[in-house]
């Protein structure tokens, strides 16, 4: 694995592997196969790839029908269309009957960049997390993304996998063992815990290392499974470090911050800060410029953490 890679690229590679391992895997796309990287699967297994055109509702409905007949469909488009446009099909035709459909949505979050607010999904985790039977995964790098895809294919039931457009630093090595429902301790610490998800994990890690130099001992947890959330690792961190900061490229409403707040308030209340998108739409700009403007930077994590502890 290279030292930086977009999680969507890892998705394409994972599909290629899956295609040879499991003949039941089929892939559907809605006219974005070059961007979502499902085209990688298409070129290897054209008989098991289906483009439904620009029709996200039918993308999910067709996937549901395929799943009733024993297929393992991966349905892909941009996160905003997958979870927004097709929400009710995911709800009623996939989650309610617990069909074995994997919704692998790319271009999630602000890092879509230049396309602007219409294409920047900032509420997809919130929407998918609210659905009974849905598992929600948000991998931190290319290595974890590939492992998420492989585990999602083994798991029987609906899974939402959130994938990004932009390259992110690779933090895991190939021996990393991903498990659905398990948070991962990346760095120990005692002054506070940063729980991060997706592309913000590498930034959280970098922030904690900088803070270390200033004598602050910050624990970092990668929460790649948003649902079912790993309550144990959150409660342990609350008990041992007394303060929690969540970091996500998503609205602070309904995403990781909310999930962690729910666990803390019902089990072991401690002060919590949520870093994310503050109930606002994004805008056009390069991925880095947009992240900076909306406070999703190493510097802001450092500042917020220092002010908090």
């Amino acid at each position: 694995m290279t030292n930086s890679m977009a999680t969507r690229e890892a998705y394409g590679e994972a599909l290629k592997k899956l295609g040879s391992i499991n003949k039941d895997v089929v892939v559907l796309d809605a006219d974005l196969s070059g961007s979502t990287k499902t085209a990688v699967f298409k070129s290897e297994y054209p008989d098991r790839f289906f483009n439904v055109g620009i029709a996200e509702q039918n993308l999910m409905g067709t996937a549901a029908g395929l799943a009733t007949a024993g297929k393992i469909p991966f349905a892909s488009t941009f996160a905003v269309f997958a979870t927004g446009r097709a929400f009710e099909i995911i709800r009623n035709s996939i989650c309610y009957p617990k069909l074995n459909v994997k919704v692998a949505a790319t271009h999630a979050g602000l890092t879509v960049g230049e396309d602007g607010a219409t294409h920047q999904s900032i509420e997809d985790i919130s929407l998918m997390r609210s659905l009974p039977n849905m598992v929600v995964l948000n991998p931190a790098d290319g290595v974890e993304a590939e492992k998420c895809i492989m585990k999602a294919a083994e798991y029987k039931g609906p899974v939402y996998i959130r994938l990004g457009r932009s390259k992110v630093p690779t933090i895991f090595d190939e021996n990393y063992n991903f498990e659905i429902g398990k948070g991962v301790l990346l760095k120990d610490g005692s002054d506070a815990t940063i729980i991060a998800t997706g592309i913000m994990v590498s930034k959280a890690l970098e922030a904690s290392k900088m803070l270390e130099k200033e004598g602050k001992s910050i624990r970092v947890i990668n929460m790649s499974t948003i649902k079912p959330i790993d309550s144990d690792i959150i409660i342990k961190a609350a008990k041992e470090t007394k303060k929690i900061i969540t970091v996500e490229e998503h609205s602070i409403i309904g995403g990781l911050g909310s999930a962690v707040a729910e666990v803390l308030s019902e089990n072991y209340p401690v002060p919590l800060k949520r870093i994310g998108i503050n109930d606002t739409f994004g805008e056009s700009g390069t991925a880095d410029d947009v992240l900076e403007k909306y406070g999703l930077t190493v510097e802001n994590i450092i500042k917020t953490t220092k002010d908090f502890i």
Partner: protein, 275 residues
């Protein structure tokens, strides 16, 4: 093989069961259930290759009730066909029942797809048909859509896709009774010319009387012999068919009969002696 007289009597039994079910549940959709009795009878008692003892048999024909609110006619047909005991029909829409207000594939033996949110069933049915093509299986997929239901956008996404993928193993019937909750289709949102619409989407289209078994089976046969495209059978029906005061009344779309009304309906349907 059952003859038409036998099938007619089964359709009458389904109508009687629908009225009894709805009287007990005091909730549900009689109009669009009664209009589809011949269609469901034709499918479950003659046309489809199914085994009630083995509802998940992978080579079976599939049926998707895309107009999921007509669940009572599906439940009546499944019970009559032996998928579960007829006593279960008394529990329709009640707490802890396996017979939900709209079909639930996880809870009810014989239900091939969870439906109820209009339009989604056709999309799922096309996915099932696609799976049959991938696996080179001989099974056919049947779906029943409502006429008001085709106002949903996903219907046309699925219609385009089913034609694009040449799903000739998919036969869809439209229960064209002309009425929806707020009134006549033509007043609420005109769907005509509905035959021309599906033709232009690349479907084979057949128009029939949806209460005439001869025409239903001729159309189902024609659909099987049509290669390279899916078939839409537009079946003209009467909403509330068989119950004089329910026929052609939009008001009986989603309203249960009182016990007096049920009594009258059962008398008309010849179902009183069983009560």
């Amino acid at each position: 093989m059952k003859n038409y007289e036998e099938l007619k009597s089964i359709a009458s039994i389904l109508r009687i069961d629908i009225i009894k079910m709805l009287e007990k549940s005091q909730s549900g959709h009689p109009g669009g259930s009664l209009s589809a009795c011949e269609i469901l009878t034709a499918l479950y008692f003659k046309e489809m290759n199914i085994d009630p003892k083995n509802p998940h048999w992978e080579d079976r024909d599939r049926f998707v009730l895309s107009k999921g609110h007509a669940a009572p006619v599906l439940y009546a047909a499944l019970a009559e066909r032996g998928y579960f005991p007829k006593e279960e029909l008394n529990s329709l829409r009640k707490i802890n029942s396996m017979l939900q207000g709209h079909p639930d594939m996880k809870g009810t033996p014989g239900v091939d797809m969870t439906t109820g949110s209009l339009g989604q069933g056709l999309s799922a049915a096309s996915g099932m048909a696609l799976a049959g093509k991938i696996d080179k299986k001989d099974y056919r997929v049947y779906a029943l859509v409502g006429d008001g239901e085709v106002q949903e956008g996903i219907i046309w996404e699925a219609a385009m896709s089913a034609a694009h993928y040449k799903l000739d193993n998919l036969t869809v019937l439209m229960d064209h009774n002309g009425l929806q909750i707020d009134g006549k289709n033509e007043d609420v949102m005109n769907i005509e010319p509905i035959d021309e619409k599906f033709k232009s989407f690349g479907w084979h289209v057949i128009k029939i009387d949806g209460h005439n078994f001869e025409e239903i089976f001729a159309a189902l046969e024609e659909a099987k012999n049509t290669k390279g495209k899916p078939t839409m059978i537009i079946a003209s029906t009467v909403k509330g068919k068989g119950v004089s005061f329910m026929e052609n009344q939009a008001g009986w779309h989603g309203k249960a009969p009182s016990s007096e009304q049920a009594q009258q309906a059962l008398e008309e349907l010849g179902g009183v002696e069983n009560d």
